[in-house]
Symmetry: none
Subunit: 399 residues, 2 copies
């Protein structure tokens, strides 16, 4: 079963709106075991929308058209679909009634063009979910199908979940369950991970199930997604569990979390489990560490706070000494178990550009690690934060 | 001149990554007066990438392929382009040298697969901008052209701005100059701005040049983009100057900046011009204010720092008093002219959800403003920062 997605709207091509609808639908299709090989953006132009729909019907079994169902003259998706189906339009009185009563219940005046939304291709079935004034449609074309859903994300999601996905599942007759899990890593390049996992990936190529894919996500680290396809959910989860254990065995502490666990979520959890508190002196990182930690620790129960200011480069102090002192000072000022700091050498100190000193002060002493980070100043700051949190994570795990 | 965009990567189809690259490129093409009628997402599959490129070359003059230039076996964009061009691959020693020295300068070990990135189609010219290890390519196909750029947004943008857009302009032979300017606003809704500008927009509909468009950008405020099309740059700039003056006359202090001037850039400039320093006590905002200010004031010369910690809700103090005291405390602690703080009522204090108290302490007293912000906690934090900086901006302008 293959399904294409066509996102319709000139503002998508012009970059006024980012097409996040296709991404969401793509994820739902993948989770439902339906392939989506092409996803297209096209403007509000009759001939071009028509050519996209015709091509999609040629190379796939189904197509989801997203957008162009509103009341204005620009909204022509309904008319294009009628042409592709080779049918006329008809006024659907049930839809017209819903639109009228929606306006009445909101105390608004309905303009005549709003009823254009009740004109649908003969043979098309309205989608029962209708959270807005734009009706969605299921439009059979031979043994294939065109779905039309609005571009408003909330309305689109309700219709896709409520009607489109169940209808696709019924048509595909597929009962397989697809489940996936993402291992989050830090401290290895994509090619480094590729080499560490080369042997296992070759095995999986032969087995065919589960599959593995990499996704480099900047300061979120490199993600390894494992996807399993089985007859039932329990078997899929067993395969994911086994594969996660195997990959963790190969990668060791490079794996810091799973799925939605960001580095700060993992670190806060590790601190809480050990009953520890932490604070920081932020210079290089300028508040970014605090912003990330406080987002996940709203009442400052574990991450107690930070002092943000410029780095004091007193004569005779090495960057290592500065990082150590700043981490210890944070510990003392906020009366916490852990103190965190990053120092950067003065350009005059002759270190490699991108060099930073990460310091984690614990009750039993201070860990300092030197690292060279890539990129411009903005990236240096972000990477410093994650690298510092990763040092804290490894220190806690070792302790 | 028509240019299609093909975003390459299975993770785009699966919704793991949202394709914001195409939106950005689409915007740049529109600003350059180049039409983009179709934008496609396709997975890491040789035959399907090939069919997309061939179709794009049929119906357009140029195609920008974004992604699939990395070092792994999945990255096949280079090879597909070679097939479409009908040429073999060659190892480019200049690129190989750059990749080697990039790894050396970071003190990292280069794995053999990294050099795959130096294998390019015969006849393709490397794009001079190369901020990462993936080279971009300009690949002529008859009188048409394929551009290949990496999927990493920062690298893609540098190459598109530095090479792709100038090359497209040269190829199109277009002599009209399209220039645009964005007025940045804060404190008015989109429909509010729409009403304020209704008369002027009706006039411009008749004139046809310049044009105006709104773009709501969350915490970056609502942007009003003015676009002028003229025979030469000087005339276009004159039209933009006149329109900016006219719109500022209508909108007054709602306009806080122009083009890339974010709120913190504008505020830092206003502080510097007056020789003032500032500091903050961050509770609700948890470090976000410091992160934004220090990004633009690396040496903390103007924004001297902040203390980040939980809000102390002493008995008998109103939120107004807490905001006032926190702002004054920041002023005292960091010995600055200006102190900044945001307080939020305790749920027990019975205020409307989303209520925050913004405080700006100056040498002549403390300004406190109460506002109700939309959204969840993450948005509340971000909006608090921008609203606080906007209050500082208005206070400085009035002083």
């Amino acid at each position: 079963m293959r399904c294409e997605i066509i996102a319709i709207g000139t503002e998508l091509l012009l970059g006024v709106i980012v097409d996040s609808n296709s991404s969401w639908i793509g994820e739902q299709l993948a989770l439902a075991g339906i392939d989506s090989h092409f996803q297209v953006k096209v403007g509000d132009n009759f001939a071009r929308i028509e050519s996209c729909i015709r091509q999609a019907l040629e190379r796939s079994d189904a197509v989801i058209c997203c957008g162009g169902l509103g009341p204005t003259q620009d909204d022509i998706t309904r008319d294009v679909i009628a042409k592709v189906m080779g049918v006329a339009m008809r006024r659907d009185e049930a839809i017209a009634g819903k639109i009228r009563s929606m306006f009445e219940s909101r105390g608004r005046v309905m303009t005549a063009n709003n009823l254009r939304q009740a004109d649908i291709p003969v043979g098309a079935a309205p989608i029962p979910q209708m959270p807005g004034t734009a009706p969605g449609l299921v439009c059979p074309v031979g043994d294939k199908v065109i779905y039309a859903v609005p571009g408003v994300p909330r309305e689109m999601k309700e219709m896709v979940s409520g009607t489109v996905l169940p209808d696709l599942a019924r048509r595909s007759g597929q009962s397989a369950v697809i489940a996936s899990r993402t291992l989050r890593t830090w401290g290895q390049s994509e090619s480094g991970l590729d080499e560490m996992l080369a042997a296992r990936m070759a095995e999986l190529d032969t087995l065919g199930n589960p599959t593995i894919a990499f996704n480099a996500s900047g300061i979120e680290g490199i993600k390894i997604r494992v996807t399993a396809k089985c007859d039932d959910e329990a078997s899929a989860q067993r395969i994911l569990d086994a594969e996660e254990a195997l990959l963790r065995g190969i990668l060791g502490p490079v794996v810091f979390g799973v799925d939605e666990q960001s580095m700060e979520v993992v670190v806060l959890e590790a601190l809480r489990k050990r009953g520890l508190t932490a604070a920081a002196h932020e210079t290089v990182t300028g508040g970014i560490l605090s912003a990330r930690m406080s987002h996940r620790d709203a009442d400052f129960a574990t991450f107690r706070g930070a002092r943000v200011s410029s780095e004091q480069r007193a004569a005779g102090q090495t960057p290592e000494q500065r990082a150590t002192r700043a981490a210890s000072a944070a510990q003392a000022e906020f009366k916490t178990d852990i103190g965190l700091a990053v120092a950067s050498p003065d350009p005059a100190e002759g270190q490699h550009p991108g060099t930073v000193l990460l310091a984690v002060a614990t009750p039993s002493g201070v860990q300092v690690e030197k690292t060279v980070l890539p990129g411009d100043r903005a990236r240096l700051r972000d990477y410093s934060v994650i690298s510092l949190l990763d040092l804290l994570r490894r220190t806690l795990m070792a302790g």
